[in-house]
């Protein structure tokens, strides 16, 4: 998948097609990883009592941060388990979702 894909017909033959590095799943994992780290850090070290009271006693930064980190790991796993197969010729298959 990513920004490339299987060529369609002859006009595309012989063109260098990129794949893999730009997998959107990795992009999502990276963003959620960064968000998760910041929020978890804030939840652990930057949460005042006033903050806690605001969100009704739930340390929402911490929980959201942990949740985001988990989702990031899931996306990386998905990427590892179902990597992108770059089709050179209009071969069937490729990345099945």
């Amino acid at each position: 998948m990513s920004i490339s894909g299987s060529g369609q017909g002859t006009t595309r033959a012989g063109r260098a097609r990129r794949a893999g590095a730009f997998d959107i799943r990795i992009v999502i994992a990276a963003l959620f990883g960064i968000f998760g780290l910041i929020l978890t850090g804030m939840g652990l070290f930057g949460t005042s009592d006033a903050d806690l009271q605001k969100s009704d006693g739930i340390n929402i930064n911490l929980w959201t941060g942990i949740g985001l980190l988990l989702v990031a790991v899931l996306f990386v796993l998905w990427n590892r388990l179902r990597p992108i197969i770059v089709d050179t010729e209009a071969a069937a298959g490729g990345e099945r979702d």
């Binding site: 894909g5 299987s6 990129r18 999502i28 963003l31 968000f35 910041i38 099945r96």
Partner: protein, 561 residues
Amino acid sequence: MTLVAEASLRLDAGFWDYTLIAVYFVFVLGIGLMARYAVSDSLDFFLSGRSLPAWVTGLAFISANLGAIEIVGMSANGAQYGMPTMHYFWIGAVPAMLFLGIVMMPFYYGSKVRSVPEFMLRRFGPTAHLVNAISFALAQVLIAGVNLFLLATLVNALLGWPREVAVIVAAIIVLSYITLGGLSAAIYNEVLQFFVIVAALFPLTVVALDRVGGWEGLTRGVRDATGSTEQLSLWPGNELAGFDSSLLSVIGIVFGLGFVLSFGYWTTNFVEVQRAMASKSMSAARRTPIIGAFPKMFIPFLVVIPGMIAAIIVPELAEFKETQSAETGVDYNDAILLLMRDLLPNGMLGLAIAGLLASFMAGMAANISSFNTVFSYDIWQRYVVKDREDGYYLRVGRIITVVATVAAIGTAFIAAGYSNLMDYLQQLFSFFNAPLFATFILGMFWKRMTAAAGWTGLVAGTLSAVTVFVLSETGVLDLPGQGSAFLAAGVAFVVDIAVSVAVSLRTAPKPAKELVGLVYGLTPKEDLQDPRDRNDAWYQRPGLMAGIALVLIIILNIIFF
């Protein structure tokens, strides 16, 4: 839609909030840059080379629609009308999305057209094509401007930036990733945006539910505030539809919202259909709206429910709901923002702001990316400068993106002066879709329908919708709530069909061989299938997945009946 841009909405964004927002924008622009390496011809730029997997196009499909109007508007409806707002998702979107995937997509994708107007051209010839292409292009630029204006209003209210600065900064960001990466960049950003919005709204909903005392607390709160349980059940939704009679209300919701308005929007709006056209095979194209239907079912829990809770636990909004007084300084459109202000600490606040900004920008990006396709292929290449090499049209696409963005900035500044005008514009454009759906569905299934019928039906239908709208605005017809929009769409649909049939019977049809691939019954079954899809697993079969989605919708309707 107007937001109350007062200090009451000002959020206390701190260093880490801005950091989260900044990180997000680095990713948005980064996707544009990465997508640029893969763009090498105009099909790449406009349709992502028809290469994307279905889950990506499916999420982009609903994300393109998950803009300002959806999030702010539907949480506002939730605060005002309660549970019946769910109809906009369960009745007003999912069935039409399934219909698009099962019935219409084989013709769109199979005929290899590059845009919805191009389908008009092949089925009905140049007049219908030109009417459709120009009205669509015009509407998109204006709506892009409206989205931009809403975004600026939000940034102004939340962060205190001057509106003009916000308009221009947002326009430059959207412009850079679309001119760089074309539709791929727009689609990848929509997918990213989808997850960011969910990550922002889900914790907000959890905290809000906790604060109000769980589902029990929510139902008690709504009952106490409204004195009845009407806002807690889906049907008959009198308040939402604006009819006193429950029977009329149900008919209005099912036929007006569920059939004409939503089928018109979801099945013929190129902003949506373009996402499916970018997928890599027939089956992936058909699955695009079907995959989108699943998250679409559950988004209202993150939008409508917080809206309902806001009307209970935010004191100003609760007072507004009771008194409708402008003195409270807030209105329903502020529901989600007030909830963010009251419930989220720094950190989550930054994530929530990033999510909202993302959704508003994606709405505009979707308008611009579909506009440049229609302009380049359907107007410029077809009628102005024909037969040039592909690179030329790619350059035209990039240049016109800049022009469209500048035009959208202009529209945004006009809209800033006339906030009511903006509401009218949005409603008017929704009227283009109802007759379009009538023309499409008749044209796809009735081979006798002629070219002349194509454009006369479209024009007559649109004019009749506008007529109903003007009549209700001037008070000749009196329908509060959404009734006038339902009626206008219904009338447009019926008039379009009637005119199309009448004209078809008096004019000569196109020869059958020109309609292969465009009309049901003249298209061999094999043409509607794709050899690449033979080995699909069960969860990749469009029919089965659509069936599951339909059953889920019925279950949801029973649970919240």
